[in-house]
Symmetry: C2
Subunit: 240 residues, 2 copies
Amino acid sequence: MEQPNRSPLYRQVREALMRRLVDGHWRAGEALPAEPALAAELGVSQGTVRRALGDLAQINLVVRRQGKGTFVAEHTRERALFHFFHLVGDDGKRALPGSRVLAVKAGPATREEARRLAIAAGAKVVRLHRLRMLDGHAAIVERIVLPAALYDGIERLDRAGLPNELYKLYQDRYGVSVARAAEKLKATNAGPEDAAHLGLRSGAAVLEIDRIAYALDGRPCEWRVSRCDTASHHYVSEVV
Amino acid sequence: MEQPNRSPLYRQVREALMRRLVDGHWRAGEALPAEPALAAELGVSQGTVRRALGDLAQINLVVRRQGKGTFVAEHTRERALFHFFHLVGDDGKRALPGSRVLAVKAGPATREEARRLAIAAGAKVVRLHRLRMLDGHAAIVERIVLPAALYDGIERLDRAGLPNELYKLYQDRYGVSVARAAEKLKATNAGPEDAAHLGLRSGAAVLEIDRIAYALDGRPCEWRVSRCDTASHHYVSEVV
DNA sequence: TAGTGGTCTAGACCACGCT
DNA sequence: GCGTGGTCTAGACCACTAT
């Protein structure tokens, strides 16, 4: 391992492995080479590789299993739901959302969309509008904006072709792995349209979740605004 | 280090150190013994102590500084604000909240309060009602419930004696260190009283943050419900 | 039995903060 | 100069998984 800069070796190893993950050098779910192989290849000790892999496991980019190996993290249904979906029933049970796509449209990005997705103004985006169900009734209205450059042809998927867990679709079909997300929450009074979709009176309080999802390489890959009826559900957040 | 169970050594060391932190064996801000001293005392290698201390640093129970030592984490003003306070201005600037105490009262816990704080029904609690300012105008109404057993005589503090950063007060004066918190968020329509405090019309959407704070030993030490005007601020959440 | 990751140790050297 | 935590190595042994 050459040392172009003054950062610790384990960090250089971590970044090198991360580059390969970003490049798609290994597919989601695939096993990485074993520690001794990586150590030999990179010219560092096994301990240094361990440290780097441990860091990657910590941020959920890889999964390590004793006796089996180290694997590229996958967006399983579980992970998509439990890791990135924070609405739970007031009784503490996780409600599994269903979803119904209302519209899919492509078009040039507005200034705001371009800013949030860090793309050029006017670049093509695909907009999804969908309704999600919790415990059988409509509880979330979602407006999703995708940079079309990352998801070639996604606007031609019919509504049945768009699964409930979009993050798994992004990963499996387009090679876009969502690594992290930043959410901004507000309480707002529902407008007439959202209220109608959610079966609420206009002006009812809804929780607005504005989320930018970032891909492995750190670039925004989705902007999603969800307006949620929190009458019998709530958003959970743990602070350590 | 004896091995009563089959857990890894570093975990046993971590728990042993944690017990001392919980017991108040070291005060907030105080330096722990250096690694070699701890290793010798516990009969393990320095590497094992390092791993345990690293874990404790990760969950913010201690702070490690190269060349200086390892210190018990303190609730500085910074930490209280940036770690546990998640409302920021829509312009991205952190608004530093001021606060005005409206009422302090002691009384027996309701069933709900007892349940949330994991204390006996009817046990004495202290209730605080306060208003917090963001950028100069009232933006948050807070109702705080404390188990009186942990905060002897806190209800006799005058309003001037109750600082803006309560967590630092809990730690400095009562030895209660908030280690983590669980928050539940909902959007609700403001009732007449909250609306009046916040200068909103009745029925305006407000963000309700329901937080249980846990002390080092894992027991609840505060129940706080904050109702926030999110017209020009929002709650931030990072998902990794 | 062989290969994987997980734990634990011992020791070397480095970077930082003090005095 | 000395003590602190930070990095890096090499090697031993353990626990789990597969064949």
